[in-house]
Point group: D3
Chain length 338, copies 6
């Protein structure tokens, strides 16, 4: 019987401008449910892992419709607390290769942001889980919800769960008066597994690497330095988007139990929806890790998940094991799968 994972963070409704329309011309929004940790849960559940999502949402039909979708994908929602008044939202407008996707957050005062220590009984939540996952945005919204992250991490540590942390830095959040560099290091301290990018490592810890070095080397140095601040860290994964020549390349790196493993990358000639790429990469890595795959297979699988997410509208990687294995076997091709 496999691992059971619990993930904690804010649940969001994303309102994405229709077609290719900008905010200044749109007639409406497509609704997707989202949230970094929910995104991870959805892909893991679709791949067959037992996962429970933990959050707090208002007791209204907007939130209920989202939980309904999570359950559809197989994510457990029994521990999502109901309360507060507002579901976290974000608006997005489509970009294309010429212009970036733009995001407007509307998350202040959400049911999640108003979480306070004691509201969630972590001891009773963590009963069947072997793994706990959270990310930096879970601590970026309010001091009180960051404190709930601390509760969760401490309980997970006490109960011996594997702790997986995604650095996940968002510059436009973090408006509650504390700096990420104050809040994040103590929370990340207990991590066994982490996903990060070079920017977040610098913001949270002030760790930098020489930008003229190859990414592989910068990854190696970063991992070595990070271990000083994260004493239990055994696994670190990172994905990269390199713009070289005509099409960008999406690649991945893994440090795992002493070794370093790299995926050379896939070309990315077209992106349908870039949001959620990192979460799909994280889910792929956790899937490989908890299923005991070889490290090179883990990073290959994770990179494939991150790539394929970019072909799918919405924040969730609506993928099956077969889709990922097909990519790993055939690479990118224009074939029709009849």
């Amino acid at each position: 019987m496999g691992y059971r994972l619990a993930a904690f963070g804010e649940f969001l409704l994303r309102l994405h401008s229709n077609g290719h329309q900008r905010f200044g011309q749109t007639d409406g929004y497509t609704a997707y449910y989202a949230g970094a940790e929910a995104n991870v849960c959805v892909l893991l559940a679709r791949l067959g892992m037992q996962v429970d999502y933990i959050s707090r949402v208002p007791d209204n039909d907007l939130a209920a419709a989202g939980l309904q979708q999570l359950r559809g994908h197989g994510v457990g929602t029994a521990h999502v607390a109901l309360g507060g008044q507002k579901l976290g939202l974000y608006f997005s407008e489509p970009g294309n290769q010429l212009r970036p996707i733009r995001v407007i957050y509307d998350r202040n005062g959400s049911a999640y942001a108003e979480l306070e220590p004691g509201m969630l009984n972590w001891n009773s939540i963590f009963q069947e889980h072997q793994c706990f996952h959270w990310s930096g945005v879970a601590a970026a919204l309010s001091a009180s919800s960051a404190a709930v992250c601390a509760e969760a991490i401490q309980t997970a540590r006490d109960k011996g769960l594997l702790i997986s942390s995604d650095f996940n830095y968002r510059a436009t959040l973090w408006q509650y008066g504390k700096k990420p560099a104050e809040v994040m290091p103590p929370l990340l301290y207990h991590s066994d597994v982490a996903v990060a990018d070079l920017d977040a490592v610098e913001i949270y810890y002030g760790i930098t690497t020489d930008a003229s070095l190859p990414l592989e080397e910068r990854f190696r140095q970063t991992f070595t330095t990070l271990q000083r601040h994260m004493p239990r860290l055994k696994t670190l994964a990172m994905s990269f988007r390199k713009t070289q020549g005509a099409a960008p390349v999406y690649s991945g790196a893994l440090a795992h139990e002493g070794g370093f493993y790299f995926h050379d990358g896939f070309p990315v000639p077209m992106v349908t929806d870039a949001i959620g790429t990192g979460d799909a990469f994280t889910a792929g890595m956790l899937y490989g890790l908890t299923n005991g795959h070889a490290p090179q297979d883990i990073i290959n699988f994770a990179t494939a998940c991150g790539l394929l997410k970019q072909s799918i509208p919405g924040d969730w990687a609506i993928l099956s094991l077969k889709d990922i294995e097909l990519l790993l076997k055939q690479g990118i091709s224009g074939r029709i799968a009849r």
Copy 2:
């Protein structure tokens, strides 16, 4: 040269579930901009009146897209203050004759709700206006924005503007710790013109009438009693939706300078979007009033505006003078206007 009117209230983005879909099944939302006072402005501007909308919205593209639409209809937006973080929102799902439209508000912490006295310079805003319009929802969101309503009304009174107030009671707002019956009477005190419904009159003033009486009589009694609390009140308008037999009937009543005037009502066999009906009625009444029409013409025109709004998607009465005159001349008919 005609009247110039200023109106004050919260500007909203409405997200209305696509097609006939309920929240629990929708794939997205059509975007309409809204707000009771903005709705009044749009119809008045379309009818050719000079109107300025006064509000506070965040400096982001969601708000800018809405102001852009207001300007398109001819509403002045030069006095809309930029600031705060959040645009007021509401979500709606379509009803039909069997099931009501449902609304979920997300307005806490909006740029408008966080308005504080002194932020808007009413003396400089009211320079060319002869009329000021506001409604009960403008005072329903926060103590501080209710205080700004008081500022606006006092300045309008001092400058001799005609004050038009729509009672506009929404039970699910008013969560800031004060009761409508405390807040509204002092604000309504200075009104020259008012639009109300029987429920709001009871909530704000405790005034009731015998429900077995005809609506016309209840309207007469209500006006007489209200005048005791609103010493300057010379004009009161009210619209009614009566469900009698197969199709509902939409009718209107006007008390004006001592006389009572009634429109018998239009049948309403079908409603495309009921939201904004009252605001269209109010705009129609203000149009007739400020153009010096005869009282019976005023209530006929206002009732026609309220009826026609129900045929139009969104909160705004996208109407021309010709549309309204055609209805008043031909009544409801299945004709094609070729």
Copy 3:
């Protein structure tokens, strides 16, 4: 082997505002192809009759796409001349029971309007036909196209075809300097069969009836008077939309070889698209007539066609014989046809 019918008139692209949106708020238009005589052809072809449509359209993809649809429904398009620069257009915005559908024409200078006598070789066109159909709008656009109508009618008369004329008066056309009362009577003179309404009869001939009489009686009087101006007229059909009580009623009348026949009418609680109703009625009448049905069956069938059209978006009555027979057998019911 059945009748073969030729019909002549302007082919149009209709651009109908999406959803329930008015011109002042729409984001786009649904494309339907149209034209009174094309509409008649489509239903007749769907019912199995051999029909050829005669018109003139520009040699571009907009017109080609419409001819393609006509052929799909079984209408012959071999005699549609290519030439000119512009396809006739009209824009429409949806109405509902509260507000009428509105139409904006853009037909000036169309390939059809620029038709001139001699351009179409009617002798070679009419080779296998037993019936010719046209309507008043075919003569309403330009003096030269009205002259082409005269050519067609004269050739049809010379060749012994049954001539069917729909009065079809549109007030906002007729801008080329002649009055309908000058142009239409000589064209209608040769008609064997006609469809009319009371307004058009008045405009074209100045014939009126006492509006306080029952519609049946007004129809009888109209037919009798009309016969004086149309000496060959043996068949006259008329449809009525009466608004009595909650829902309108749609009914029909037929004068045929000395007798008068009436359909009492169907209630019309809802209309999806009223445009094309009269053309479907006309097609239904011609179908019954050319198939030798009993007069009461003819008017029943025609009325059923006119009613059912109102349930179908676009100008064409996308109906099968089975649909019409089902209505005639079951009436209007909420049943599901599984």
Copy 4:
């Protein structure tokens, strides 16, 4: 702790023509998942009952997407067998008050129709259930799937489950060479609870009542006669659609433990989607019954469920307890639920 119900039948993908378009003009289809018994499950699960759906679907993404939606609404899908090649389908085109919805079935050779006795282990399926529900369409597709119905019913009887049967006759199914009157009576024999309509009672048992009697009396007589063929029958529910005057009326009747209970009916001025009405009625009745409500409350609740379904697109009654209670309290009103 409440009842746990199992329901068995064919799972379907419905492809419903977009907008108001007929098959002959549509550009595509909206996808809804369906199946009489699945429909019942969805509403019961939304109302909080524990329900498991039992069926057989192919192991492909079309079926998986449907099961995903079932799980979202809270329906257990652990006992849905995977196998076969084809998911049952049906196509529909929208009707309106003038023209009926039309359905084209494509169910032959589906994974369900190819079910054979022994494929499902009913002993292991029925472990925690107190109630089994099925309907006539479950036996209408193939002899072998009708035999699986018999297996299920016998096992349910042996294990002491309450057996609920919906007569649910569809004339265009039943093409496998047996008559409903041969197949259905032995299957219905064990029913404790049934939903029927007068037509199905006649088809299955040859039982008729005098059509000139009031529906209430016909219901009473039908129940009394049916009990002779269904010895365990204690509860019978029936819904009626009466077209009287302008708008139809939807009403219900219940026979329960010796008494007869009626709901006078709701007017139905507009229908968004009539399909699934009967299943929502059945679910409402089962909800009241298994929660021990008073008989009059049961039939009121069931009738309200059937009515409200007609306001919702798709086959599923996307309703909450609150929606139903609001209707029972306020009736049909044009109010906005803000």
Copy 5:
């Protein structure tokens, strides 16, 4: 007067998931009609050739809507037999450059698959035709429909028609118990003209070429070897999709009366819909061949058709001669054709 061509195969309704949505998230499907041979017919008819499509479809509105579209494009449908119960279907989800289009077939038991020898009277069908076209999928569905292919081919041979065969191998069809290598060679034996790809040649005949050779050389060897099995074969065409560097390249090869001709290929930076590419290539080749073009022009034209199809949604190459000539003249450019 040109060639008249008859083509035989299964007519299909394709249901293609809306927007970019995967099966697991779609809200509906766009409807396209399809079928390899129908696709060929549509482009040939659009280019002005006389073509008749021969198939068998059920007598329902789904099939009728498709035939209507064929007729619109100019394809003769008089020889499409009505009968059976089911129209062949396939579902597809959009791919993009990162993930393949996926197809789910639902064709078992279709009206076409249930065709049996004797049902179609090939002698009376082939009266005015000079050419017969079919493809491998026409024989892939059932033994009986493969036997009907044999009937058609034999009759065509007897009557001296040019026989055009597309190898068109689909691995997931061929489930009726026979191998393609048993069925196809006798059917292909009579071909004068063929389109193939290297995979199908291997599956049907076991013919392979050294994969390290250039495609041009592999094509030459394949043709030479194939001629041993297909003694009448004078013309063979093949298209290639090579993924080299950033964008794939689409190219073509032709063996014709002793010579070999190649088109170097077009870059394919973006694909709107890849399905139907091969059929457009085939149609382009047949157009050039039957119009007596020079061999190099034939392969250029065919390759241009195959390329342009990829820019068009749906299975049909909605192209005009002018579109193809413009590409051959200008190549791929970002110009606007004003």
Copy 6:
């Protein structure tokens, strides 16, 4: 206080086929308002410049809806004359990298084309403006509207306005019997600033350059030669689309007060809508020029505007200053702007 600009030309409604559909398969059209000079106005107004649009449109709702949108973006419409019968139209079908966008014009007889000298009072229009902008299409529709261009230019010259002219040659217009080479040079004579492309320069003046030279050199030579025909010309801008390798490159050139300035170009891997690119480039150039930016900054800014337009659906560059500055700072990247 900044420059105030007036621009004159035809206002158009563009009807753009939905999705990726060609004319021969589309179900409808998305509505965008357009017109070369209106496009320039919209971007300038969005960037904060005071701009007035001058044109003539019919007094109907189609035109009103467009003016409404112009006002929304901040463009003054007070000088748009109402009259005539027809709004200029154009239809377009989407292209992609494989196939060009196609345009069908329907502009004959439009309110603009029927403008005659004397209809617009240029003396009263030009009261607060420092700059006048027009383009070649404004003179391409009719002799009389070209004469109005001459009036406008002469008045602008008399009043000392800076005159900006876009050569803007459209081959399929110019059907009123005069050649561009007769009409355009006298109109262009007074230009202070111009935008051109090499083709238009050849058509209007017969000026050619050696196509084998680098574009930069051809630009330099063209400017030098043009100055002989345009004695006041101090500023000339030109944009280029070079197809080199996989993706095209979009670049720009500026001659200004004796110097030549070039932007090397942006890669254009994908285009959402190419129409309006040149107008956005022109607006960007005029913005830089009238704000006194350095020449290199002007051409960089203009090129960025032209590039970004290609990412936006419709004819208008829905851009903010921030969007353009972000591109100039970061270049094209796949980043998400959170």
